[in-house]
Symmetry: C2
Subunit: 82 residues, 2 copies
């Protein structure tokens, strides 16, 4: 298991409710890939969304995000965290 930071583009004007719904869609199926989404942050102005997860692989993170309807544009393992 490792930590991953993934990034989504194009979420301009996202609301708190929409971010929560997207996150909940991940949480509902994350166990099927052994993924735990821990945090999510969004900037409605730039449209960027960041998600922090613990997962067996970047592919596992992407499979959950794809099935939940929001494929990540970037996924980076972040083995160092403070």
């Amino acid at each position: 298991m490792a930590k991953f930071m993934d990034v989504h583009h194009g979420f301009q004007n996202i609301t708190r409710e929409q971010l929560q719904q997207a996150h909940d869609a991940d949480l509902a199926i994350q166990a099927e890939e052994g993924v735990t989404f821990e945090r999510a942050w969004a900037d409605p102005e730039s449209g960027l969304v960041y998600c922090l997860s613990e997962a067996p692989s970047a592919d596992a993170v992407q499979r959950i995000h794809e099935r939940a309807g929001h494929r990540a544009d970037e996924i980076h393992m972040v083995p160092l965290s403070l």
Copy 2:
């Protein structure tokens, strides 16, 4: 006060000790700009470093990072967080 996610490029092969030292350099002076750095994550392979902070402005975050010797390449306010 708002939350900010900032991104640094070019930290390929960064070690845990180097990440901690860079973070400590921020912490040592952050109060002078009213900034609180909360978390930092690094991917030594891509060289990406992410920092999460609470601050009065993106400029305040950048002033601390610059004075600590590591200017951020991107700083995004993240008013939505889960």
